[in-house]
Symmetry: C2
Subunit: 253 residues, 2 copies
Amino acid sequence: MGTLKRIDVNHLKVRCSECNLRELCFPHGMNVEDISSMDAVVKQFKPIHKNDYLYRRGDAAVAIYAVRTGCIKTMTESTNGDEQIVGFHMAGELLGLDGFADGIHACNAVALETSSVCKLPIDQLEALSQKLPGLQNQMRRIVGKEVSNDHKLLLLLGKMTSEERLASFLLSVSSRMLERNWKEDEFNLSMARQDIANYLGVAVETVSRLFATFQKQGIINVDRRHITILQMEALKAMVGDCVSTNKKPGCVG
Amino acid sequence: MGTLKRIDVNHLKVRCSECNLRELCFPHGMNVEDISSMDAVVKQFKPIHKNDYLYRRGDAAVAIYAVRTGCIKTMTESTNGDEQIVGFHMAGELLGLDGFADGIHACNAVALETSSVCKLPIDQLEALSQKLPGLQNQMRRIVGKEVSNDHKLLLLLGKMTSEERLASFLLSVSSRMLERNWKEDEFNLSMARQDIANYLGVAVETVSRLFATFQKQGIINVDRRHITILQMEALKAMVGDCVSTNKKPGCVG
DNA sequence: AAATCGACATGACATAAGTCAAGTTCCAAA
DNA sequence: TTTGGAACTTGACTTATGTCATGTCGATTT
């Protein structure tokens, strides 16, 4: 194809300071100088294809990763082989904290579609944070976000009906689409029904049926993985959004 | 009682270096000098009584806490008031990471019985970690442990039957008893059936029935909150311990 | 000792969601 | 273009677990 300059994608320079994901990603909330010093730490990582592993349970945990494009799922595995998806990571979102306990990844990380990530080596992050006090705050925020996400999922799995779970899932995807300046009411899911079911702790058939029901109720439109949300408020009401529904007196929302 | 010296328990000096919980607690794995420098950071905290809050959702998160005696539960709360217990924290275990995301606690922390804790102010931990590189590692390990615990609970809530959940819970308590050099097969639960049920994502009645069933099967003995484990292996088999049961060929354990 | 109350247990019954078994539909390989 | 198969849907049926109602136990107060 003509005389295009060859680019070695494994050694691309990436700069947080020039990245359009920076407000969603690791640097969110950091000051400009600190973000610039991140540039030396962040490494581009080769693209990974659908079903490829970014890391596996048991691998040495040497870095945390930021999704640039695509979507990656992380899942825990029990001794008897059951898997539970604990997160779907979209552009700008971080993964890899599951290796912090003992330096060994406790999760598998698998691409749902062709994806690219930035690699942030832990030792370099640590070295840098000795110089930048702000970076420690940042790490704390990131860790806190992970814990908070896990807790939301615990609440979902522990207390919600399957209907509430799917509504909650759709709202989560929707709000993350919005954060990325994509449409909040029309998007393509990266994950298979099976993945959604696993994540939500229900059977695939239940997910199928609920999609059908929601569609019948005119709340969403489903065309395979293409979702259109027609009644956002109806979804919010399902998960118990006390602001819009005023279900509970005294709820401060 | 005679001429006992008065002790103001709110200002007791506490030293990690002299604490018999240090191998279970924050200092686990740290070197002796680093542990000594922790002494300046750790504050004793007044004892809290049963049903008292150590902190509430919405409180400013200024510290992490280490349980000295007793047991504390942490729970998330949904917008519509549902609560999910995300952890029971025994002596030597840490809590408070739920405030890392934005400096505001996302959980409630409530004592299950009269308990005492050490307070580790975040700003002081941070200042100290600028001097001690080992402390950053330590924080990472602690965070990793929290994430790993949450993931275990996600697996439990997402994939296990109620029987597996209770077996898993009993084994978890048992192994933590053992860590503390208490009996692993005979202990008192600090939590009510209701708390266990909430934590495991099942109804109280289910917990009651399962306790009864396990007892009928001769696996455990139950006398109110006093539990005796009679067949540890049977419990392990329930949660799919592939080492002792060899259920699955090719399982590496 | 009686009364009270919360924690826990147990039986009867209801139901949300799982399982099983066909079916589509769509995409990708031949 | 055909073929194969994975992903998904839908219906019929089953079941684990929740809900409701009642009863017991044990600690604490009167």
